[in-house]
């Protein structure tokens, strides 16, 4: 690991100032960053340790019915917060389907959003990777790429964003609060992660030194609690990143879907909100046919980036099944295997 200098600011303002210099990066739990530093993938000159900052680890219910989650809340504390799990079950299920219990105990909300891709060529410093080393090329494009992107990719980069947490968050319209050198601003989570285009080295819309301080769920996000599921297909049942995942959240009134939210994970460089599919679902009865139509719409623009055409078919099936599960109703208890299609309580007919 390259040597770095370590600073521990006492306030958010001090942190932002300390991170202004080139080569500085923020340290939260470090579950992704230290791994990247040990592999020589990330080589910061300075770590600005956020873990001792006050006031970033609260879960606050807002007067307008929204929720504000501090950036330093751990993934486990958020998922196991009873009020949170009751109001946003699809987010809790996604959180509990990610990583391992040890990692969830440490990993933070802000860190989860900003975790880097798990593309093996990004991790392997002997490979060419435009994300790690801008302009060097992409060895994934002609390499082992069955897990790579099928939406929004470019010839420069076919990596996916690995987060489970972000998938239901983007479906529910989460907002990210950012502290930067010009003060506080906020953006939709859907605007945070960037598609690769010609600049895959930039994962997000953040500027150097920007600090995520909180994630907010708008008041409407609470309205989906009765019909919301996260479903995740992976190469083993636990402790693995998504091959494809889907978050489906419905509001059902008088037998019809009054509003639908749908997002996909593991398919693109960002959590993929499927708005065209949501439009198909609005105002109709929740039937298998309409779910098939929604799944088709969600993947209309998909194309394989390598040996991964199967992911498109898989994603359609996962969308149908997640919608079917959501329509059947959020289970009273978290399934024994969160988000797993093999859970004994997964319940749904096979899509």
């Amino acid at each position: 690991m390259k040597p770095f200098d370590y600073v521990r600011p006492a306030t958010v303002a001090e942190a932002v100032a300390a991170a202004a210099q080139p080569g500085a990066t923020y340290l939260a739990a470090g579950t992704n960053l230290l791994d990247l530093m040990k592999g020589g993938v990330s080589r910061p000159d300075r770590l600005v340790d956020l873990t001792h900052l006050e006031g970033l680890d609260a879960i606050e219910r807002l007067a307008d019915g929204g929720l504000r989650i501090g950036a330093l809340v751990s993934n486990a504390d958020l998922a196991h917060d009873p009020e949170f799990a009751k109001s946003y079950p699809v987010v809790a299920e996604a959180l509990l389907s990610g990583a391992s219990a040890q990692l969830r105990n440490a990993a933070t909300v802000g860190g989860n959003l900003l975790q880097r891709t798990r593309c093996a060529y990004f991790y392997d410093t002997a490979s060419r990777c435009n994300k790690r080393d801008a302009g060097s090329g992409c060895d994934a494009r002609g390499g082992e790429n069955r897990t790579h992107a099928v939406l929004g990719w470019s010839e420069n980069c076919i990596a996916t964003h690995p987060s489970d947490f972000c998938v239901p968050l983007v479906a529910l319209g989460a907002i990210v609060e950012i502290e930067g050198k010009n003060g506080r601003r906020e953006i939709a989570l859907d605007e945070l992660h960037r598609l690769p285009g010609d600049t895959p080295e930039r994962d997000s819309a953040l500027e150097h030194g920007d600090l995520i301080v909180a994630v907010r769920l708008p008041p409407a996000a609470r309205g989906f609690a009765a019909h919301a599921r996260y479903l995740k297909v992976r190469e083993r049942t636990s402790y693995a990143f998504a091959m494809v995942s889907a978050a489906a959240a419905l509001r059902i009134e008088n037998g019809k879907i009054s509003e639908a939210r749908l997002a996909l994970g593991g398919v693109a460089a960002k959590p993929w909100r499927a708005r065209a599919a949501e439009d198909v679902l609005r105002g109709v009865a929740p039937t298998a046919d309409v779910f098939q139509e929604a799944a088709w719409r969600a993947l209309t623009d998909a194309k394989p980036s390598g040996d991964n055409a199967f992911k498109i078919a898989l994603a359609r099936r996962i969308v149908v099944r997640a919608l079917t599960l959501a329509a059947a109703g959020t289970p009273a208890r978290m399934p024994a295997l969160p988000a797993s299609p093999f859970a004994s309580t997964s319940g749904a007919i096979h899509a």
Partner: protein
């Protein structure tokens, strides 16, 4: 630049001067305190052999910088027995052959203790497997590990009942 930190390790308060901020909790425990029960398996957060409790919660000590945990309360495998009296999870691992080569065992035991504190698995073997998925066992002693955790959990439930009766 030197950094001073203080940690409570298995009940004893310890002061350290770090001449390099790159030291992980895992390396500090093994190299500075010679507490080698905590194992370095993958050193990348994938195997769980380095699991310890930090402020009561199980984490991977290989992905935790010591300097960032100034003031933390740490429990390792060396700190769970009371003298010659094994921790109930340790005893259950022996009773159920919850290991073969033993390398992953300290991490498995610390993870199981952390899991029981989290109270998310109860006595459901499927939940125990899910909640213990961050600990790999190359020997494949998983069946014994699940049985050991089930027994330890049952023992804890029973003693809690006795206490509340």
């Amino acid at each position: 630049m030197n950094h001073s930190i203080s940690l409570t390790v298995n009940g004893a308060r310890r002061e350290f001067v770090l001449d390099d901020p790159r030291v992980t909790l895992l390396d500090l425990l093994r190299e500075r305190l010679h507490l080698t029960g905590t194992k370095k398996g993958c050193d990348r957060g994938q195997c769980g052999a380095c699991t310890i409790l930090v402020d009561g919660k199980r984490i991977n000590s290989c992905l935790a910088l010591a300097i960032s945990h100034d003031g933390a309360n740490i429990v390792t495998i060396e700190g769970v027995a009371r003298g010659d009296q094994l921790h109930p999870v340790q005893a259950a691992f022996i009773a159920h052959d919850g290991f073969q080569c033993g390398f992953c065992t300290p991490g498995q035991i610390m993870s199981a203790i952390g899991m029981m504190r989290e109270a998310q698995a109860g006595s459901d073997p499927e939940r125990i497997r899910e909640c213990m998925s961050g600990n790999l066992c190359r020997c494949g002693a998983y069946a014994g590990i699940v049985d050991a955790v089930l027994e330890a959990q049952a023992g804890m439930d029973e003693s809690n009942q006795r206490r509340s009766a």
